[in-house]
Symmetry: C2
Subunit: 119 residues, 2 copies
Amino acid sequence: MERIYQETAGKLKALSDPKRLKIVDMLSCGEMCACVILESFHITQPTLSHDMRVLLEAGLVRDRREGKNTYYSLNREALDALRAVLGQMFQDKPDCICRLAEQACREGKEGEQGHDRST
Amino acid sequence: MERIYQETAGKLKALSDPKRLKIVDMLSCGEMCACVILESFHITQPTLSHDMRVLLEAGLVRDRREGKNTYYSLNREALDALRAVLGQMFQDKPDCICRLAEQACREGKEGEQGHDRST
DNA sequence: CAAACATATTGACAAACTTCTATTCGACCC
DNA sequence: GGGTCGAATAGAAGTTTGTCAATATGTTTG
């Protein structure tokens, strides 16, 4: 139940950098060589390599070696799934976590024991 | 042009924490008192206060004082807008930034000058 | 094989983030 | 007014992140 927050937060963290967001945008219409991506930024090659690794480890992009070059592309399923999860979290819904919390709170006011204090 | 990455990344960063993501989920069906939110976590009150401020400053939630209590609620427009921006960035589109980059790259191969090296 | 090239890895350092304790602020109640 | 309660702020410690220079790895080419 809590794992979804952990995983989703991890993916959002990978995207929470203007550079990486722009990279995703650049990849959105097809795969691209690292060297081309690099030319769009004022960063060194190791920095780009690090950023690509962050996106890879979050599962948001894929890589493909071809000779000397590395080509990156979006993992569209993962990105769409991420957006779907966010939609779920932002929207009202009958089994919302908040109702459980409110219920626990009411029970707490009466009995004062056993809240679900999971992180 | 680059500002959208900066702003979007900032909002994603606010959401890139499991706690804050869970808080947004909790608020998704209505406003909630800080004291109730606090009961759902193993954190101190100042920590929650800090997290709520992060969400507030990102423009993702609103606050309302009522006597001693503070009630928080989602800024649904901002959250929906965020999701829409992500949709744009994840999807293919004819005026995609990647095409501009590729074009700049091709021109560079021929003339070797004047790339758009904006961050 | 040696040189050149595209990436990845390592190590270092500063900036930013997370979380806590202690304290302050504001509102309510006797 | 003094005490209490909920929340915000300040300050500090520990952790993580972003970035670079230097170096290593792997691939192609002469």
